[in-house]
Symmetry: C2
């Protein structure tokens, strides 16, 4: 049974209200890093895995992509994407990203923003993505950083008596697999994978790692959302760019 | 001024006595991982950077390497290497590994065991290594894991009231640079680098990342040195294998 937390009404309400604030990690850290990594996409056929409300798919359409297939498991998210980010170049599909069936070697670029940590079978997903990419095509994704997901009981920062942050606790690093977290609702399931797994599964499927990033907040972000300064202390996400060769 | 902690008499005495115990991380975790990664070295010209007492250089000579140039900054280490691991195929050189001057494209394999975290200028070192490698040659190295080196005040595991390990503290992750640690003597200097820096500097110098490992203890190690079980909780080293292409 694939998790579809974004269709939980409580979660959806809280999540969309966070996104609408315009004051999130996505706005000031993850999306800027993704857009820089994506670079020039003129003329490209793009697949967006875990497209959510479709912002990045729409960005691709607006910036020269020929077509974007955008996939998400959540009906509510796809509905919202169609309302807010409709574009004749973007086709929204509601299905689990692991289940996509599309012709081999169809895409110049596969992107995935903070979705892969929800996927149980990373190996199978990367195998599928590698087949879908054209020769020379790229996979660029962000996922929660292994430092962030390692600990089994995810309690967040360790704080001192006055509530000040002391450090981030790492434990259970080598034990990959399911982690449960409270994020608006109980039991949000994520999957912890080590740095080595994230990288080696790519190279095992013919994808050459071009760049790894541990994105930092933008200057604007640090002004508008001061708590982003903590992201210098421990990386929230990792971005990996690889090329089929 | 390059650090030469291994020539400090107190440090050298403690370190050699640890190594002689045969009960170290090197024996049960780092060296097994390096030897597996090195694989078949028959007929190869090898450069060993930070060779210490020469065990790995001698291993290469014993396993088919045609010649090994083994470099270390410490006179005491090189002296010991010549006593214990002398071999007509191995040439020991006492100098800082950053300062080596050897003909370009001379080596099939460059290895470096737990030395690179002592080097201030990783970029310059990798540039040099990339030039020294033949086309298709490999660089395989281990270095302290960024999770391990991140915190500025290196205090080790956070423990509970009864001395039990609670977790490993991560802080200052994005602030690369010098870290001081007490290891037998005060002020042992290491350099913290992020995962992205460790990888991107390789790809920027024409080295394709083939494999990343976060080595686990061997079964024998877990029996003989039970505290190695903690290495499942937090990785001590990272091993990166790359190829000049």
């Amino acid at each position: 049974m694939k998790q579809n937390i974004y269709d939980n009404p409580t979660f959806f309400k809280e999540y969309t209200s966070l996104r609408e604030s315009g004051l999130t990690y996505n706005d000031f850290l993850e999306q800027p890093a993704m857009k820089t990594a994506i670079g020039d996409i003129n003329g490209m056929l793009i697949l967006d895995l875990g497209c959510g409300m479709g912002d990045l798919s729409k960005y691709c359409a607006d910036n020269g992509a020929v077509s974007v297939i955008a996939v998400d498991i959540s009906e509510k998210m796809i509905e919202r994407a169609k309302e807010e980010n409709s574009d004749k170049k973007v086709e929204y599909l509601c299905q689990p990203i692991e289940d996509i069936e599309l012709p081999a070697e169809s895409f110049d670029l596969v992107i995935s923003s903070l979705a892969i940590h929800y996927i149980a079978d990373y190996f199978a997903l990367i195998a599928k993505i590698s087949k879908l990419l054209k020769e020379g095509g790229r996979l660029i994704f962000t996922t929660e950083h292994p430092i962030t997901t390692a600990q089994k009981e995810m309690k967040g920062w360790v704080k001192g008596d006055k509530g000040e942050i002391l450090h981030w606790p790492v434990d259970n690093y080598q034990e990959e697999g399911q982690r449960k977290e409270h994020w608006y609702v109980d039991g949000v399931i994520k999957y912890h994978r080590t740095v080595s797994t994230l990288i080696n599964v790519l190279t095992e499927h013919g994808l050459t790692v071009e760049k790894v990033e541990e994105p930092l907040p933008t200057k604007e972000g640090l002004k508008k959302l001061p708590k982003l300064i903590n992201e210098y202390r421990k990386p929230p996400f990792i971005l990996i760019q690889s090329k089929k060769s």
